[in-house]
């Protein structure tokens, strides 16, 4: 049989851009800044940096390193440790697929809003500021009373969603080489747009007040477990780990290449982008506070609220360049999201399927994109937002954290963290010490389980939201148990012998 050849990135910078692009996503803009304000500004940043060092970086080195070592995606890595562990590689594959199924819809909303911003469709001045929420929930989503009332499809969103999946197909169907080249643009463009948005924000009245709220340290908050929960959860979510994809991205790296330095660069760059994005966001928060004479607590929002209500509110109040700022913001959102989307789809789903079944790349890419579009239609119904919340909670919270913790435990204790460390140190630009072993064996799993347990029982989660479906309700259990059963089913499926993969 011909010598097996794994697809490659075509250059270290392309791998770095692809990894950075996967990590830098919507959460850097819509989650991190609000968390920082909520949990004590500068005090939160200390806990966040500690979380980066003891959780994020070792976890990323593990995923890159195991992928590079076995030259396989997540299921292949765990199958190589022991056949009985293969399911642990498939579970995050389902997590990745379900996340991208709604993530693509959020990207579609940003496309809809980029068009709507040109005419400030939600209104101008104070009318627009007070109408932004109604526009999002009414005009864009046409939100129903609950998850069981699906209603009709929202066709503008369906159209944008179809466009997003077509774009994703053309980025992915030729593999890692094209993905790396595209990622270079999808990383650099949003950085440039964030700089533009920051400059725009800083020229608005009240911007400095917003920055003071963002950064002023509340040292007393360091004793509050909520702060540590917020910091560790942000690190767990921001680096795109626990979603299978980083194993595959690492597997496209040749066996003599660096792992440690690439993991540090990716992690630091991602977190620096978050910190920087906070300035762009909170300068706008300060502007709204001053314009509408409201306290910061009424303005500082995270998630969809920041992107599709708070920011449009600010845009409608801007004295000049309102439409241009809106278009730039939502195009920035599109680029922030699209490289995370192709990471989830290609690294998280397509590469593992190809490893297992040896399917042709273009064919499996087309099929996965089509399935992603069809599943995504659920979120374009009038009940779409409820289902997005439910699936997001099941996958991007419980699924990601539980599979991440289990993966570290299996690698740390059953494969051997020391063995992995020797492997990655042998080719890396700098070596890491035995501390890495204990991080993978104990600290990372403990940190992730702390987030899942503490977060799972937080009052605001257990008593509100999710369209009436609370934190541990049956749809969330059904998704977790269902994906776990499918993972065992895929483990039992016969692996087709891999053939030569031709490089172009």
């Amino acid at each position: 049989m011909a010598e097996l050849t794994r697809e490659r990135w075509g250059g270290r910078s392309f791998f770095l851009f692809a990894a950075m692009g996967s990590a830098i996503g919507l959460g850097n803009v819509w989650r991190f800044p609000a968390l920082t304000y909520e949990y004590g500004g500068g005090a939160f940043l200390i806990a966040w940096i500690i979380g980066l060092i003891i959780l994020g970086i070792p976890w990323m080195m593990m995923e890159f390193g195991m992928g590079r070592l076995f030259q396989k995606g997540a299921p292949g890595v765990f199958e190589s440790i022991g056949k009985k562990w293969e399911w642990l590689g498939w579970w995050p594959v389902f997590v990745a697929f379900l996340i991208v199924s709604y993530y693509a819809v959020v990207i579609s909303w940003s496309l809809n809003y980029a068009v709507d911003s040109a005419t400030l469709a939600w209104g101008t001045g104070e009318a627009g500021a007070t109408g932004a929420a109604g526009y999002f929930f009414g005009d864009v989503l046409n939100l129903s009373e609950g998850p069981s009332v699906l209603g009709g499809l929202q066709w503008p969103v369906v159209g944008a969603l179809a466009g997003v999946w077509v774009v994703l197909f053309f980025i992915m169907f030729k593999g890692a080489r094209v993905i790396g080249k595209v990622a270079a643009w999808t990383v650099i463009i949003p950085w440039a747009l964030l700089i533009v948005l920051l400059i725009r924000g800083l020229t608005l009245p009240g911007a400095v007040d917003g920055l003071n709220y963002y950064l002023a340290p509340d040292w007393g908050a360091l004793t509050n477990p909520d702060l540590w929960f917020g910091a560790f959860s942000q690190i767990a979510f921001t680096l795109s780990l626990g979603m299978a994809g980083m194993f595959a991205y690492g597997s496209f790296v040749a066996k003599k290449a660096d792992i440690n330095n690439n993991a540090f660069i990716t992690s630091f760059t991602n977190c620096a982008t978050s910190f920087f994005a906070g300035f762009a966001v909170f300068s706008i928060v300060g502007f709204i506070m001053q314009s509408l004479s409201v306290p910061v607590g009424d303005v500082s929002a995270s998630g969809l609220g920041l992107a599709f209500i708070t920011y449009p509110t600010a845009i409608s109040m801007m004295p000049a360049l309102a439409a241009v700022t809106g278009v730039i913001f939502f195009i920035c959102f599109f680029f922030l999201g699209i490289d995370s989307a192709f990471f989830l789809t290609y690294g998280g789903v397509i590469a593992p399927l190809r490893d297992k079944f040896n399917w042709g790349r273009a064919k499996v890419t087309a099929v996965i994109c089509a399935i992603g579009l069809v599943v995504g239609l659920l979120y374009t119904t009038q009940a779409g937002l409820y289902w997005l919340d439910i699936v997001d909670r099941a996958t991007a919270f419980y699924g990601l954290l539980i599979t991440g913790a289990l993966a570290c435990i299996v690698v740390g204790w059953f494969y051997g963290a020391g063995k992995l460390r020797e492997h990655i140190n042998s080719t890396s630009d700098f070596k890491v010490g035995a501390w890495f072993d204990w991080m993978i064996k104990i600290v990372v799993p403990a940190g992730l389980l702390f987030v899942v347990i503490y977060g799972g029982f937080k009052e605001d989660v257990t008593s509100a939201g999710y369209g009436g479906y609370y934190a541990w309700s049956w749809p969330i259990w059904a998704i977790l148990v269902g994906t776990l059963l499918f993972s065992f089913w895929l483990q039992a499926a016969k692996t087709r012998a891999p053939q030569e993969v031709k490089l172009k």
Binding site: G42, L45, A254, K256, F264, T427, D429, F430
Partner: protein, 35 residues
């Protein structure tokens, strides 16, 4: 901006700048990139 906010900005910027400068100056010291 308040003094505390300025200090936070400077300290965090230094953390990222020093960290990334260290990483980029180490590039090529160990592994060999192959495609």
């Amino acid at each position: 901006m308040t003094t505390a906010a300025i200090i936070t900005t400077i300290v965090m910027s230094l953390v990222f700048i020093v960290g990334l400068v260290f990483c980029f100056t180490r590039i090529g010291k160990g592994g060999k990139w192959e495609d």
